[in-house]
Structure formats: C-alpha cells, structure tokens
Amino acid sequence: MEILPVLGIPLLGGVLLGLVGHKRWAPELNAFMSFATLAAAAALTARVIASGPVTALEEQFFVDPFNVFLVALTAFVGFTTSLFSRPYMRTEEHDGRLSAGRLRLYHSMYQLFSFTMLLTLLTNNVGIMWVAMEGATLSTVLLVSLYRTPASLEAAWKYFILCSVGIAQALFGTILLYFAAEKVLGPGGTALLWTHLHEVRGELEPTVVSLAFVFLLVGYGTKVGLVPLHNWLPDAHAEGPTPVSAVLSGLLLNVALYAVVRSKVLVDGALETGFSGNLMMGFGLVSVVVAAFFLSRQKDIKRMFAYSSVEHMGIMTFAFGMGGPVAAFAGLLHMTVHSLTKSAIFFTVGHAAHATGTQNMDSIRGLMRQSPTIGWGLAIGTLAILGMPPFGVFTSEFMVLTTAMHEHSWATPFLLVALGVAFAAVFGKVQPMVFGEPTARPLPHPPALVPVFVHLAIVLMLGLYIPPYLVDWYRQAAALIG
C-alpha cells in the first residue's frame, strides 16, 4: 500500500517537528521528512504507471493519472522548498526576526500543510477533500502571520476570513452533491466517493448539480484566487515568509484548481450544456485581464508575483474551461511549469530580499553584479514566467492560445493584450532590479540556489522536449477530464 506512507510521513513529520522544531538541526529534519515524502510519492507514481489507477482502504483513497502527477509535483516542490527554507530560516533567525519557538511552529505547520495537501489530492471522499482543504487553510494561516507585524496580521486575518467563508460555500456545494448522489446511489458512505459519483454522473439531477457546481466553483474558486474572489491572495502571499509564499503560490493554488476540475468532471457528465466550461472560461478570462493590469502598479516584489500567480491560475482555469484533449493537456502542463517556475522565482526573491533587506522593488538594484546566481536566477525565472519561449510556460500558452483561436476566437485578443501588458509591467520592474549598480550586501548564509536552477532546467526541457511517458501521463489525465 503506497498511499499510506505518502500521507503518514508528513503527518509524522508534523508531530515530530512539533516537539523538536526549535532545535538547531530542525531545518535538516524538515528537509529529510520532505525527502522521505518525495520518495514515497515516487514509489506511488511508479506503481500507478505500472498498473493503472489504485484504490485503497476500501475506496477511501483513489489515485489515477490525474492526481498522481500532482502528488509527485507537490512532493517534489515541497522538498525543494524545504531545501531553500534551511538557509532562509537561519538567516531570519540570525537577523532576529524569528524566535526559536516560532520556528518550531513553522516547521510543524510546514509538514502538516503538505500532509493536508496530499490528503486532498489522494482522498476519494469529496467530504474529506473539503475537510483537508480547510485544514490546509488552517495550517497556513499561522504561517502567514509568523512575523507578528501589523501587515502580516492583517493579511492573515483576511486570508482566514475570506478563505473560510469561501470554503464554507464549497461545503454547501458538497452537501448538494451528496444530496443529488444519494438519490441515485442510496444512503450509506458510497454516495460521497468520487469514483462512484464518476460512474453514475449521467443520472444525477441536473438542477441540483448545477446549483452545487456554483457553490463549489465560488468556494474553491476563492482558494484558486479567481478575480472577484482573489483579494486575500496578494496580501497572504506577500506577507508570509518566502518559503510559505512559494508553497502557497506553487502548490496550494494547484490543489484548489484540482478540486474545481474534479467537480467540473462530475458536472459535465450530468449536464449536456457547456455550463461549467463557460463559467470557468468567464472566470479565467476576467482573472487574466484584471491581474495583468494589476501588475504595473506594484511596489512590493512578492505582491507582484502573487498577482502573476492570479493571472496564471486564470489561464489554467480558462484552459480547463475550454475542455477538449489539447486544452486539458495544456492546462495540466501549465500547472506543472507554473508551480516549478513560480517557486523558483520565490526562492530567488527570498534571497534577493535578504540580500537587500527590503521587498520594495525600487530599492533592489544590481543583483547580477552583487551575486550573479541570484541575479541570473531571477532574470531567467521572470522571463520564463512571462511566457518567453524556449521555456515550458510558452509551450502551454501556445497550446491554449491556438486552441482558443479556433474554438473561441473572441477570447484571444483579450488574452494577448493581457499577456502583453503583463510582460511590459513585470519585466519593466524586474530588469532594473537585476541590472545596474548593486545595493545588496553579502548574505550571512550561502543561498541555496541549486533548487532554482533544477526547476528552471526542468521547465526549459519541458519547453523543448516533453518525454513520452510524461506525454501519455498527461494524455490519460486529459482524457479523464474530457
């Protein structure tokens, strides 16, 4: 049973670090636990590739090509973020911003957070998925307010209130789904299991399911950061410590979108009309355009990249909204390359903020001159996230744009204008930071930049050549999404 270690290790890590999180070697333990999770996830992935979808513990857990690659991605980025957080947290402690006690909280919450995310991905029970999602929110709220500054408290409060209310609506959606399923599958626990729901989705009651989808979309949409519901995202991602921002931007948004797509699959089966697809496309398009115009007014670097996350989540939602094998393939690929690139960017941003002592973009200058690795990492990462070929982000954007052009040609001009404005805004701000006379000071602890260049190398590879097993992995998942 490969599923249990994948969930057990982070839970154990959370508890263990809860006890010894304040010790000097706590970051190493944290990294080791994340590595163990990665190893377990790799074993699970190998098994799913070999023998197809797996269910465990009398169908409470379910793994198919769609969520196994997300599990692998979550474990991998979780591990690289833990590597990055070692020097980062030590520098924070060295600068006196964090006490040992808070580090203990940080490390235990970090492991619990990856546990909740993996649980959301692996569970077959839609209710448990909601509970795990709520757990993810709870575990990161304290992390966002780790610094106890007025700004971080405000960010955490907004994050907690908005997300809890959002997720509460998702619970109502889940209840309606359960209600519609129970009429077909009869009472008992099986009505909440996604596999059963998937088989019987044709016979679900259309009106109830569409109502449920509205609540689910608005609920989980708040967690994804779609525009009218996105207000918490820039504050939460900017005020928390950078490893938290990296994990939030890189992974939590993907998991939320995974939940939305899972419910879209069910709703599509129930309703013949493209109701759910159009809704997601609408939200996606509005998110891309509004986020693009937000970018040019930012002063704080992490807030800017948070808005960039909103924009990319908009693109993914638009892609999954369009439906069809190519668009779904593009959405999955975009999920992967976005989380890899965005986490790499946050790593460099973390080190840059430490080197210059501020997150205000106007006073960060000459990174390349001060420390070429951080400078080049940020430059290449920014170019990758802006969709410049030969990086993978362009590949998925190319597929999204080309499919959009001949299915929904009315949407393409908006997308292209948004991409152009986003490029001008972000690159206009990052270029002066990377070039010019340095304002940075050397870091007390050497920056861990190996993860950055590993991520960017993978994204570059995905831009030029997607390995065949990854291709049919995505294809099966895309067929599943339909």
Binding site: I161, G166, F293, R297, F394, H406, G420, F427, L464, Y465
Partner: protein, 674 residues
C-alpha cells in the same frame, strides 16, 4: 540519412550551439571563448553559407525532429528562400565573427563567457528561424533570438540608457511576436496541426487573408524597425557592442524580412495589390523618415541605426512593388520586384555590417563615439578608413558597388509601371521611385558628412570624456578585425561587380515562391551584363564601369607624369589666405545637417537653446526628437496606466468589501443558474 544541405545546415546550427555552450568554460581566463570560439564560429558560418547556396539549386528538403510538442514535433524545411537567407546569415556572420575574435580580445573573462554564449545562441536561433517549418518551432526560435539579442544589447547594463533601450527592444519584440502568433492562429483556420504545410493549404476568405497579412506585416515590421514601431532600433542597436550591432542591423532585421516574405508569399499565397500599396506607403514613409533622422544624428552608431530603418524602407518598397504587380496579374514584373528587394536585403546586410564594424573599430581603438569628437582619423587608421569608405559608397548606392545594383533593379521594377491597368497606381509607382531617389541622394549626403567629419579634416578635441582609454596605439584594428572588414568589403565589391550570378540564385528563389522567373534573355546575359528584362530595355555592366574609370585614372596619371613634371610643394592650407587655421573652424556634424533642418523643418521636433547676447559661456545645444514618442508610445503607456489605476480600485483593503464581492458573485451566479 544521406548528406543533404538540410542536414548540413542543422549540423551547423548545432555546432553554433555547442560553441556557445563551450564558450562558457571560464578555464584559463576564458581561453576557449577568447581564442577559439569566434574564429570557429566564422568557419561554421561559412559552411552554413555553402549549404544555403547548395539548397537553392537542390529540390526542397524537409525533416521532422524528435523535439517539440507531442502532437506537433519540430518540422524543419530548406527551400530556395530559406537557402538564400541561410547564405546571407552564414556569409555575413562569418565576417562579423572574425572581427569579433579581434574585438573581444581584451574583455573581462566573466563578461566574455556570457557574450560568447549569447552570441552563438543568437546565431543558432536566427538559423533555426530560417529553417523552421511549423508555427511552434518558428515562435520558439523567434523569441529565443529576441531573448539572446536582448542579453547582448544589455551587456554593459550599468548605464541606465542601455537598460531602458533593452527593455523597449524586448517589449516591442514580444508584442510583435504576439501579433505573429495571432497571424498563425488565423492562418490555421481550424483543422490539422500547425505545421506550415497545413497552414499553406488552409484556404482563407479575402477578409481573413487581409487580417492575417496586416498582423504578419506589423508583427514582422515591429522586428524589422518599420515606421510606427521603429523607436527601439536607434536605441537598442548602438547600445550593443559593435560586432553585435552589426549582427543586429545586418542580419537580424533580415530574418524579419524573411518572415514577412515567407508568410505573405508562401503561407497566405494569394497576394492582393491593395496589400502592396499599404507596403509601398509605409516603406516610402520609413525610408524618408529613416534618412532624414539619420542626417540629424551626431552619435555614429545611432546614425547607422537610423540608416537601417531607411534601408528596411527601401526593401519594403521593392516588396510593395512586387506585390502590386503580382496582385494585378503581372507575375513577371512581380518577380523582378521580389528579386530587387531580396538583393537589397543581402547588400544591406553586407555594407551595414561593414559600417558598424568600422564604427566599432573607431569606438574600440579610440574610445570615440560622437562625430563631433572625431576628425582626421584617416591618418591614424588608414585601413579602417578605406573599408569605411567602401561601405559608405555602397550604402549611398553609387556604382560600381552593390548598393547601386539593388537600387537600380528597384528603379527598373518601377519603370514596368505602364503595364499596370489601374490608372492611379500606375502613376503612383514612379512617385515611390522618386522617394527612393531622394532617399538615395540624402544617404549620399549623410555619408559624406560621416566620412568627411570622422576621417577627413583636422582631429577635433573631444568634448565628451573619452570612455574607453585606447588600449593600443589607437591605430587600425588587429589582424582579425581588419580581416573581418576586408571580407565584407570584398563582399561589397563581388556583389557589385558580378550581379548576374546572384541574379540567377534569386531567380530560383523567386520562381520557388511565385512560380514565375525572369525572362530568358535576362538569364542568358552572361556575367558581364546585368539585364533585368530585355537588353534593349535596360542593361548595366559594372565591370566595364570600373575598368573605364580605373583605366582613365591610370592613363591620366601616366600622361601628366610623362608630359608634365610631377613636382609638388607642401605648405599651409590656402583657405583664402586666412593665417591661423584651427580645428574648431571645421564643420560639426550638426552644422552639416543645418540645411536639411532648414528644408525639412516641420518634420523634426527640435529643442534648441540659443545663448543670450551677454552670456559669458555661450552654449548652443540642439536636440532633435522623434515625434512618434508623443504620437504613439507615450499615449499607449498612459492608457495602460489609466486602466490599471481604475482596476486598482478593486483592492481597497477593507475586508467587508472583499466579503461583499464574494457575496455578490455567489448571488449573481445563483440568479444566473436559476
């Protein structure tokens, strides 16, 4: 698979990439990059040129690589058009790489390794753009080219001006790429994948074909420096190190022209004459604007960049005429126009590369960049002066060099106007030829100014601090630099004196695109006479030109020495008897352009500061600005600023408002669902 030019070209591109990566090795004070990389790159360039030429004569070869998207692997194709542009890329980059070997000798190792990597990635990307046969590989190569050249332009990024130039360059390149992507989308029409073959046989309604044309024209035009979207070119090209500026101006602009020809002639196929008129109007405007603003510059590299804008205008004139003729159903004259445009593309690559290398030598050896600081350089840099003179004569379209041949062909195309049916267009065409003549004459004036002020006359004392102290004796460049310049100068001569060989190559390219070739007695005219249509109509023999002039010059010198004594007496310059002759009494670069400012006054946006009568330190400053900044670029920036400030109201910071947004969205959707 058998060895074909396509495989050879791919091997050359791969070789460039390998050299680029190897150049990163910092061992031994970056010895690989310093000593081996650039000459090796030049050899690979030559090989690529040979493969390009071979490809023109061989049937089209195509290949699919294993890289790329799962359902759209990279397609690669080498047809005569791609072969010609590979030849251009290979030959010109060979000369520039040899020059770069000498130029980058004394670079700091960490800068040199980066320059080496980006330089060869840039070359490989350009080769890939020419070889690409599907929309995805084309876009990847296109933007990698923009990216690599961006990092080259911002090598010494400590100057704020260079940073803003780099940003503007990459921004407009990216917007252009977005327009091209949209054009491919429209061409696609819905079925099949995105390979060029599928795009070719997707039939389009005239409306969508025109939309695709406009998108392609402005997308590639943005990269070529066409009028409304040219503002980045005079900023970005001078900012780069000189060999890179030569590559940017000489070769990269040509990949934009290649893209334009590939999309309009090959992918869209059915060319309409209205498009030709649009291209002609914008081409004429670009030409005149480019040369008139070049005359106003006193920064040498900025002047050369404006001339690139002008020459792109000339190429567009040729293309426009060819599209008008093809649109009206006269493909024979259309092919002549296309050949004139492609010939000028090659010529411009050669002589603009040579001029930038010359400017590079002056900057590298003497640290001088502003024309008002130069003077009398011919005495200390005779060889550079000689090569620069050849480049100047070539760009001014003076016989017997190559610049004249392509302008002459463009004039011949214009003179085919009477066969057109449409009254207005028939009389418009010669007017466009007149703007070409005006631009040619103005270029001649501009390069008299450049050569006269920079190389001739007395050395002026530099007003701007000399940035790079001259590392050597301030004389001519090293052997490699001279070899690079000699190669391009020889190119000017060969292309000027033996145009018929290149005409045959271009005829095949034209035939592969439009299915029509030149008339057979044009092709049978032997190497001595260049005949575009029929010998009776027009013919031109550059060889006889040169022989007669050189013969007469030698004959006169002999006769004068024989019959009359050759005695010479050296004394002070006469200057109507004025005794104290100081260098400050010579013309400055701005003074030379004064008559142009007088004649074309309203075109310029002049900011002038005249000293008062009792000003102890009178200082006259003149700044000529480009109106387009105020017509197009700043209004767009202000619009984006306005929209984003309106949207920023969405995030006012109050949590109750955020909750309200969520609530209203929920209620709205629920109402919509019911």
């Amino acid at each position: 698979m058998s060895f074909s030019p396509l495989v050879g070209a791919l091997a050359a591109t791969a070789a460039w990439l390998v050299i680029g990566v190897l150049a990163l090795i910092p061992a031994g004070n970056a010895s690989f990059a310093r000593k081996v990389a650039f000459p090796l790159g030049a050899l690979v360039g030559l090989a690529l040129a040979v493969f390009g030429l071979l490809a023109v004569w061989e049937p089209t070869a195509s290949l699919t690589l294993v890289l790329g998207l799962p359902d759209l692997p990279f397609h690669v194709r080498l047809d005569p058009l791609a072969g010609f542009f590979l030849f251009l890329l290979g030959a010109v980059s060979a000369g520039i790489s040899v020059y770069a070997a000498g130029y980058f000798q004394d670079e700091a190792p960490e800068r040199l390794t980066l320059i080496g990597l980006q330089y060869f990635v840039f070359l490989a990307a350009m080769a890939l753009v020419t070889l690409a046969d599907d929309a995805y590989l084309f876009m990847v190569a296109w933007e990698t080219m923009a990216l690599a050249s961006y990092f080259l332009v911002t090598t010494d990024h400590h100057q704020p001006a260079i940073r803003s130039a780099g940003f503007l360059y990459l921004l407009i390149a990216h917007l252009g790429a977005i327009a091209i992507l949209l054009c491919f989308g429209i061409l696609h029409g819905g079925q099949g994948d995105y390979s060029f073959a599928a795009l070719r046989d997707a039939e389009l309604t005239p409306f969508w074909a025109s939309v695709a044309f406009l998108l392609a024209f402005f997308g590639f035009g943005a990269k070529a420096g066409m009028l409304p979207l040219h503002a980045w070119l005079p900023e970005a090209h001078p900012a780069a190190p000189s060999p890179v500026s030569a590559l940017l101006s000489g070769v990269m602009l040509k990949t934009a022209i290649y893209g334009m020809v590939r999309v309009i002639y090959d992918l869209i196929g059915s060319v309409r004459w209205e498009w030709g008129v649009v291209v002609l109007v914008i081409g004429a405007a670009t030409t005149l604007f480019g040369v008139l603003y070049a005359l106003m510059q006193h920064d040498l590299k900025r002047l050369l960049a404006y001339h690139s804008v002008e020459n792109i205008g000339i190429i567009l004139l040729g293309l426009g005429m060819s599209m008008v003729f093809i649109g009206f159903g006269h493909p024979a004259a259309g092919v002549l126009g296309l050949i004139a445009a492609l010939y000028h593309t090659l010529n411009h690559a050669v002589f603009k590369g040579l001029l930038f290398l010359g400017a590079g030598s002056i900057l590298h050896r003497r640290g001088l960049r502003d024309l008002n600081d130069m003077g009398g350089l011919i005495r200390s840099m005779p060889r550079t002066a000689f090569y620069f003179l050849i480049g100047a004569l070539a760009i001014s379209a003076l016989p017997p060099l190559n610049g004249f041949v392509s302008e002459w062909l463009t004039f011949q195309t214009a003179l085919q106007a009477p066969i057109l049916g449409h009254g207005v267009v028939r009389s418009l065409l010669p007017l466009f030829a007149a703007t070409l003549a005006l631009a040619g004459a103005l270029t001649a004036m501009c390069f008299v100014k450049v050569f006269g002020i920079a190389f001739l006359g007395q050395p002026r004392e530099p007003r701007h601090p000399v940035r790079a102290p001259p590392p050597h004796n301030g004389g001519d460049g090293g052997p490699m630099e001279r070899l690079g310049m000699a190669w391009l100068a020889a190119g000017c001569f060969v292309l000027g004196l033996f145009p018929t060989s290149m005409l045959l190559v271009l005829n095949r390219v034209g035939a592969s695109l439009t299915g029509w070739g030149l008339s057979d007695d044009a092709l049978a005219s032997g190497w001595l006479w260049l005949v575009p249509t029929t010998p009776a109509e027009a013919s031109y023999s550059p060889v006889i030109f040169l022989l007669v002039i050189v013969g007469v010059v030698l004959l006169t010198i002999l006769l004068v020495r024989r019959f009359y004594h050759g005695r010479v007496r050296y004394s002070h310059p006469w200057d109507c008897g004025f005794p104290e002759q100081t260098p400050r009494m010579q013309d400055t670069a701005d003074a030379f352009g004064q008559s142009i400012r007088h004649v074309f006054g309203p075109l310029y946006l002049m900011k002038r500061s005249l000293p008062g009568p009792d000003d102890p330190a009178p200082k006259f400053t003149l700044k000529v600005e480009d109106r387009h900044w105020y017509w197009l670029y700043l209004p767009v920036a202000r619009l984006v600023e306005f929209v984003s400030s309106r949207i920023a109201l969405l995030q006012r910071g109050r949590i109750s408002i955020y909750l309200l947004y969520s609530f209203i969205t929920l209620i709205a959707l629920l109402v919509f669902v019911r």
